[in-house]
Amino acid sequence: MLFERVGDRGPYFGEFGGRFVPEALIAALDELDEEYSRAAADPAFAAELDRLQREYTGRPSILTEVPRFAEHAGGARVLLKREDLNHTGSHKINNVLGQALLTVRMGKKRVIAETGAGQHGVATATAAALMGLECTVYMGEVDTRRQALNVARMRLLGAEVVPVSTGTATLKDALNEAFRDWVAHVDDTHYVLGTVAGPHPFPAMVRDFHRTIGVEARAQVLERVGRLPDLVAACVGGGSNAIGIFHAFLDDPQVQLLGLEAAGDGVETGRHAASITGGVSGVLHGARSMILQDEDGQTLDSHSISAGLDYPGVGPEHAHLASIGRARYEPVTDDEAMEAFRLLCRTEGIIPAIESAHALAGALRAGRELGPEGVVLVNLSGRGDKDVDTAARYFGLVSDADLVASEAERVSGPVEQTEANGW
């Protein structure tokens, strides 16, 4: 079975988690929790999700061994869990299909979502189109610029994309706007939160929908290698792809779990998004977790070349796994991630999402520690189509003149969303 509800489900993971939200949302969170419990006990729900995952998403996703890449990882065997091959291009669809089915079960007509890199927004817009739901996606204005392709995809799919210019105009502010919308429209609207953060039941529920990644990968590695991997690596923004792959290995003490956080310019520079490595215990977006905060509890700006990891918090279950030492979290700088990105492109013909390139960089490091006997499983959470522009600029692959021309085109011609042009 692809979907299984897990016993350890919050609201607290050790000291982390909880519900730090306005009272107005408590009833909706209770409703969601109850509906989710009912759905999880209903074989018809699991069957429908299973069908969608096989026939729509393309599950199970395959495992790809990358030997030419692995030459740079101390000769350890490196296996990629190919969530990039999912429909819509990332792991995000696993969770979205589950939540969209719940939305329909709750009789709600509209979904809202926040998005950073745009992958979660695209996945939500996709599920909304599939199930006939109205869809509004909040996206920081800064991110709408660096992920313009995904903005266009969401609009093609019929979603309204609302650029958020408050605060730092990035992912955390998109979450704030989504919460505000939800408070006002909770009667007919479900908030499809995109990662394992937020108030209970989101961290547990989103994790459960992503557990399939690890369940599949564990069986695939056993079959391919004849034993469990020594280490599982995944990038951590909010932490959904990481918890999805980690969870199946929690009870295998010989398997190390390594989460890679975005270190931006380097944790020591203060320009980073490494919430566990460089954060403190606090409250943000409805949960107690590790947060980038100043000594007054104000959220600090996060920085990463990767919009999907550019978030000053992390899911509470990761904070817990770090605190009990079951998983380790390490920072990866923009430059290290881009080096791993380049390497995978050149050695294996796979263009990864820049988010996932952080996990690849971690795998290179870990592989060198493990040596030739080591087996490293990496969650390749997404593909790099959306990041081609960013990478081309980073590596200087397009001339300044081309960049200016494409910029001018973009500025002069945002496609208006009107009935007249058919969208």
């Binding site: 519900r19 306005p22 107005a24 408590i26 408070v183 429209h185 943000l284 409805g286 509890g297 959220t299």
Partner: protein, 287 residues
């Protein structure tokens, strides 16, 4: 479960711990009630438009008819607030407002001369209080002369530390109820409050509205039925007329965005005009 089945809540008045005489907002609400009217509760974010300006504006507002001060602790991620208050909080943060400045403002307001002094409640999201330290915050707020704290994103379920600390220091604690609150939650929230209960008039965020939610009157009645001794209504009130409408049934009328906007558009004189209009509204509310 009907509301009458619920345990009688010891709403608001936990009389075991000391409440500094004259400085509690409950006594201001009671005084207004004795005068046959609802109280006017006004919000500004500390440090807006700047630190001294905020204190001056609130003193002038008290002179113009404000009964209770709600001083916002500016926060980077105010999910309960609409654009007007969020922008003001951003101004305050850019101006360097820190928690210790907020406490200094409380102290200045609490020691203002007669006629310009009113009980001060701090309104804060939970992240800053948690980071400062819940016990330390309660201690410092009490010693600054603050009456208590309103917590828009802290529900009683998560508030164990704060309930203990506020009891220890005799501080009021105001939790919110919403149109979506179940009868059981109305009762448990009313029981957890000390001083009064904040009824959010609509499902939504702060901001002036053309009409105050029709859910508000029913919510006030339900909160009272569930044991709340004093109930004030906020979210959306901006005019004297609306204040009169809400003042007819609530113990207090809370105004935020309209004051922030008046102060930013027309300075203290503009703010005083709006406060006088609102005060006339609550005064005339019960005929």
């Amino acid at each position: 479960m009907s509301t009458t089945d619920l345990p009688a809540a010891s709403a608001g008045a936990d009389t075991t711990a000391p409440v500094p005489a004259g400085l509690s907002s409950a006594s201001a609400l009671d005084a207004a009630r004795a005068a046959g009217r609802s109280a006017l509760v006004g919000y500004l974010p500390a440090g807006f438009p700047d630190r001294a300006g905020c204190v001056d504006a609130l003193r002038a507002s008290v002179a113009a008819g404000l009964d209770v001060i709600e001083l916002g602790l500016p926060y980077s991620d105010p999910v309960m607030d609409g654009p007007v208050i969020q922008a003001a909080a951003e101004t305050a943060l850019r101006g360097g407002t820190r928690i210790r400045h907020v406490l200094e403002s409380v102290e200045q307001l609490a020691s203002a001369p007669d006629g310009e002094r009113a009980p001060v409640l701090v309104m804060s999201y939970w992240a800053p209080v948690l980071r400062y330290g819940v016990a330390a915050f309660a201690r410092d707020l009490a010693s600054a002369g603050g009456a208590g704290l309103i917590t828009p994103d802290l529900v009683p379920d998560e508030a164990g530390d704060w309930i203990a600390a506020s009891d220890e220091h005799g501080l009021e604690r105001v939790f919110l109820v919403a149109p979506s609150s179940t009868p059981a939650r109305l009762a448990s929230t009313a029981a957890a409050c000390r001083g009064w209960t904040y009824a959010a008039s609509t499902m939504g965020v702060t901001g002036a509205r053309t009409s105050v939610g029709s859910a508000a009157e029913g919510l006030v009645a339900a909160a009272r039925g569930a044991g709340a001794e004093r109930v004030c209504v906020g979210l959306g009130v901006s005019t004297g007329e609306q204040a009169a409408e809400v003042g007819a049934y609530a113990d207090g009328v809370i105004v935020g965005s309209a004051l922030v906007r008046a102060l930013s558009d027309d300075g203290v004189a503009g703010l005083e005009r709006v406060v006088r209009d609102l005060a006339a509204g609550v005064a005339g509310a019960r005929g």
